[in-house]
């Protein structure tokens, strides 16, 4: 009997005990996708055949007395920004429609080698630009808590797939909060590892100096298990760190014991207050209170340059993105549009027509911003200046981590907002990532753990924990402690409060 509401860790135990098989489990997930994804639209591509083949291989391996990893046989969903050999990879963009990569991203190769069947590719804002998935060229993903609301973004597809029990776990990517913010608004867990902790090879870059691949799960333990599969040094990614990962699963077990004696928790003054929804702040303060009761010491810390994080981010990201996206020129792969009214279009004409038709408005907006920020005469004032502020933000982190072992804040300022609310107001959309962006600018790890439901709307809020670079184990330890304390209080996982999805009745 396969219960998809079980965590990945529990499913792994069931596989180990023979209570279920990978084929059963994978088929159940595929059935669930068939049942509810009409309403959710978390997936852009489902690979039933490939997933079942991998599941059969996993079962055969186990029957022969071998396993490839703890999670061998547990199915997974993959954000469509990661290259998958033989599986379409669109990044949510028309310009990559029909592109099937000839190679696997390193994390995808690791997931396959660990025996996890890949269910399919999940929806996202085009090239990961957005906080709602409304900027996907293939339609919006819906929040399982309220189908009229956004699931967060850019990785709304992965978060919604996990929150609606279509997949036990998923891979996401986080450039300014694209794992953590969807986690917060869907009541799931998401981790952005230390920059360089997980290979970016095969991650279609949004902003190379900010991007990081990470786990999207329902529990902190599941994130740690997946993180240990995908993490570690990769010679194909020069920016990946050449040293062993900290013991993450061990940190979760430690944290879950509930003892945080001696731990210093820093509440960041600049990440709270004005602009934050009351119900989100209420759940945040309660969570801090719980951690205090578990023995942690709370200190207030100030990171004065965080107020410039958003502006800094929106110069660095578009600059890198404008260059990364230049390769989509209709010459080698993806969309090719012939301009109308031209008998013998030149290469430039075809490039122009293709990029005009293939990129959405938000992508074009950021290409224009980035091109401008890098232009001669503006570089120093914009890109150059942004890099200096980025250094100041890192220094803020460094001094804050002298006063506290971890820093905490609400993950996102609000709960899930209605679809369509902010899609025409870029600034309002950008503000969703106010609390998550500083970690990307400084390269430090962060986790979002569900902190409860906001009183105003009954929708999930997230609690963010940040640690110094390379100390990913700390976010797992504190995240697991909070998760355990809240579960004790609630008596059941938060997602049990989400409405049942009655199939394609939307």
């Amino acid at each position: 009997m396969t219960d998809l509401r079980k965590t990945a860790a529990e499913l792994a135990d069931d596989l180990a005990s023979g209570a279920t098989t990978s084929v059963e489990l994978t088929q159940a997930a595929l059935d669930r996708i068939a049942e509810v994804d009409g309403a959710i639209h978390a997936f852009l591509h489902v690979d039933a055949e490939g997933a079942l083949e991998a599941a059969r291989a996993s079962d055969e391996r186990r029957a022969a007395g071998r396993t490839a990893s703890t999670l061998d046989g547990v199915p997974i969903a993959v954000k469509d920004v990661l290259a998958t050999k033989g599986l379409p990879t669109t990044c949510g963009s028309k310009i990559l429609e029909g592109w099937v990569p000839p190679y696997d991203a390193t994390v995808v190769a690791k997931v396959r080698a660990a025996g996890l069947p890949i269910l399919g590719k999940t929806n996202m804002d085009e090239f990961a630009m957005g906080s709602s998935t409304e900027h996907s060229a293939y339609g919006t993903t819906h929040n399982p808590w309220d189908l009229t609301r956004i699931p967060g973004g850019s990785g709304g597809g992965s978060a919604a797939a996990v929150a609606s029990f279509e997949a036990p776990i998923a891979l996401g990517t986080d450039t300014g909060g694209s794992i953590r913010q969807p986690g917060a608004v869907t009541g799931t867990v998401g981790v952005k590892p230390t920059y360089g902790g997980v290979s970016r090879y095969g991650l279609v870059a949004l902003a190379n100096s900010l991007d990081q691949v990470g786990p999207v799960t329902r529990t902190v333990l599941d994130s740690a298990l997946l993180h240990e599969v995908i993490g570690g040094h990769d010679p194909k990614d020069s920016t990946s760190i050449d040293q062993p990962l900290p013991a993450l699963v061990e940190a979760v077990r430690q944290g879950a014991s509930g003892d945080l004696a001696g731990l210093r928790i820093g509440v960041v003054t600049e990440l709270g207050g004005e602009g934050y929804q009351a119900g989100v702040l209420a759940r945040f303060h309660e969570s801090v209170e719980l951690l205090t009761k578990a023995g942690a010491e709370v200190v207030e810390v100030s990171c004065p340059h965080f107020v410039h994080a958003l502006a800094t981010y929106y110069l660095i990201l578009p600059a890198e993105a404008s260059s990364n996206l230049a390769r989509f020129d209709a010459m080698r792969y993806g969309l090719r549009v012939l301009p109308e009214g031209l008998d013998a279009p030149s290469a430039e004409d075809v490039m122009r027509a293709t990029r005009d038709a293939g990129f959405g408005d938000e992508v074009k907006r950021r290409i224009i911003l980035g091109t401008y920020a890098l232009s001669s005469g503006y570089y120093d004032a914009y890109y150059g200046q942004a890099q200096k502020v980025r250094t100041l933000i890192s220094q803020d982190f460094a001094s804050a981590f002298e006063q506290a072992d971890v820093l905490v804040s609400p993950t996102a300022p609000t709960t899930a907002f209605p679809i369509g609310d902010k899609v025409d107001d870029p600034m309002a959309m950008y503000l969703n990532d106010l609390a998550t962006i500083p970690a990307n600018l400084a390269g430090v790890p962060g986790i979002s753990v569900p902190s409860g439901l906001a009183d105003e709307d009954g929708l999930p809020a997230g609690f963010q924990i940040l640690a110094p670079a390379l100390a990913d184990d700390r976010v797992y330890r504190v995240g697991a402690a909070l998760e355990a304390l809240l579960l004790e209080q609630w008596g059941a996982p938060l997602l049990d409060k989400a409405p049942a999805l009655d199939g394609a009745s939307r």
């Binding site: 990559l96 592109w99 190679y103 010679p235 020069s238 230049a326 080698r332 890109y383």
Partner: protein, 508 residues
């Protein structure tokens, strides 16, 4: 797109250019390294191959792919920098040079911008006697930096072979990502009328250095070594720099010299006419010896350089740099002095050898067993003449130092004479085999049959009674005319010294 009526360019005579203007030169030389793999991926960097077979996600710029730096390429860059007397950066980064071009997979080139691996060096070049007066000229090096090559486009159809007007274009990405070192000089001023010779000598001696370092095949005809020639003129004595043009991909040492000379004459024509030089890229036409306008390269062209975020900085340790310094070939100046002394060349002979780009060839010919003067005689005489007639570099004639040494050995053995040796070279150009095979196949051996020689001498004496009388009267110098007649009769295959002896014996 600017079009220029190239056939109506006014060229000012070279001497007049120098009366009114000072030239400033700048040379950018791209050296394709001979590493086993590409700059940022593991694909083979070998020349050629079926199109698009030496490719992977990284050098094709596929979405998600990432670069990783080739350590061997960094090592070659450092060695080149050290050989050019440069400082080696303790810390430097790659940068993206952003522009759109169909043969560039990412639409940016991963290069270096304001943090080159090597900077502030120099090279002392020796001018040939013909172009200068044998002096040494110091060329200051601004920088040497690492970058990746682009793919190679072939434009099919149309008249010009360029992208505009072509029916379609094919792109081969085998070349994309091959490591390049770009070596940029500071503006070279003060060369005056020697500017074309300085340009040629610099590129030629830079090539010798690259070959000696063993970091590139450095063949200009295969594009391993590509020179862009920047030139500007300023009013004589003004001390300023004028507007420059950049002539791209000049493919031989001789063309470098010609392109500088041509651009000096053309610039002067434009400036004399009261017009301004357009800052632009120009194309060199080997056949007609002129340049034509390429794309306009105004200051508006903005590459939006920024540090490559996918690569970590390069920080070569001082220990490594010193270790590499120890692997450098002999300093060219010291080496020249040593060879001159070993060979017993006069200053003039040595300068001509260097200036003709024949130093390495003579050195290898001597190493293959020829006497230094014999080696010099062939390379700077017969072979230089033939190269000049064919419009080739002597190194590209298809005659190797080993061939020359063997030809000289055959002469020394008395098997052939100098005249027959020239026919052996004919055979070598025609690809008829080794010198020995050519001698055999063409029947070039010197005739030593005394009977045949004696008969030919008798016939020559009988045919030239006046000359014979003069010799009998003691005017031995007149024997030359009879020797010539005998050699003609024998089709050159006679030992001239023996013919002379026979004539004097018979008329003595």
């Amino acid at each position: 797109m600017t079009t220029t009526a190239d056939n109506r360019e006014t060229l000012v005579p070279f001497d007049e250019v120098l009366e009114r203007y000072d030239p400033a030169l700048g040379l950018e030389v791209h050296v394709e390294l001979n590493t086993a793999t590409k700059m940022f991926c593991g694909c083979p960097a070998a020349f050629g191959g079926e199109p698009n077979t030496h490719v992977c996600p990284t050098c094709l710029g596929l979405p998600g792919s990432m670069p990783a730096v080739n350590r061997k390429a960094v090592e070659s860059a450092i060695r080149i920098g050290l050989a050019l007397n440069c400082e080696i950066a303790e810390w430097c980064r790659f940068a993206r040079k952003n522009y759109f071009y169909p043969d560039m997979p990412k639409n940016f080139q991963t290069s270096q911008y304001d943090e080159p691996i090597a900077y502030e060096g120099f090279m002392d070049v020796t001018l040939s006697d013909e172009g200068g007066d044998g002096e040494t000229f110091r060329v200051e090096i601004e920088r040497a930096h690492m970058e990746e090559d682009t793919g190679k486009s072939t434009h099919v159809g149309g008249l010009t072979g360029r992208i505009h007007g072509a029916d379609y274009s094919l792109v081969d990405y085998n070349r994309a990502g091959i490591p390049l070192i770009e070596i940029v000089t500071k503006p070279i001023v003060g060369a005056g009328e020697k500017a074309p010779a300085v340009a040629r000598a610099y590129v030629s001696q830079l090539r010798d250095l690259i070959v000696a370092l063993g970091v590139s095949e450095a063949r200009m005809d295969q594009g391993n070594l590509r020179a862009d020639v920047n030139l500007s003129l300023a009013p004589k004595g003004s001390g300023v720099l004028g507007t420059r043009t950049e002539t791209k991909n000049v493919n031989s040492f001789r063309s470098v010299e010609r392109a500088v000379r041509y651009e000096m004459q053309r610039h002067a024509g434009v400036l004399d006419g009261g017009d301004s030089i357009l800052q632009e890229t120009r194309h060199w036409h080997e056949d007609t010896g002129i340049t034509t306008s390429g794309r306009e390269k105004s200051d508006a062209e903005d590459y939006r350089y920024f540090p490559e975020p996918d690569l970590v900085p390069i920080a070569p340790s001082r220990e490594w740099v010193e270790e590499l310094r120890g692997t450098l070939p002999e300093n060219p100046t010291e080496k020249r002095a040593r060879l001159q002394s070993d060979w017993g060349f006069t200053d003039l002979e040595m300068r001509d050898t260097v200036g003709a780009g024949a130093l390495r060839l003579v050195e290898e010919t001597v190493a293959a067993g020829a006497a230094p003067q014999s080696a010099r005689k062939w390379w700077l005489g017969e072979l230089a003449r033939r190269a000049n007639d064919a419009g080739l570099e002597i190194a590209d004639l298809g005659v190797t130092p080993a061939d020359v040494a063997r030809v000289q050995a055959l002469v020394d053995e008395g098997a052939i004479n100098d005249k027959l040796a020239r026919q052996v070279f004919d055979g070598l150009y025609a690809g008829e085999g080794t010198p020995d095979e050519i001698v055999a196949a063409r029947g070039l051996a010197v005739v030593s049959d005394e009977g045949a020689l004696s008969a030919a001498v008798d016939a020559a004496i009988a045919a030239n009674p006046d000359v014979a009388d003069k010799i009998r009267e003691g005017k031995v110098a007149a024997a030359g005319a009879l020797i010539g007649a005998v050699m003609k009769e024998m089709k050159g295959q006679a030992d001239a010294a023996r013919v002379r002896e026979l004539i004097l014996e018979k008329l003595g």
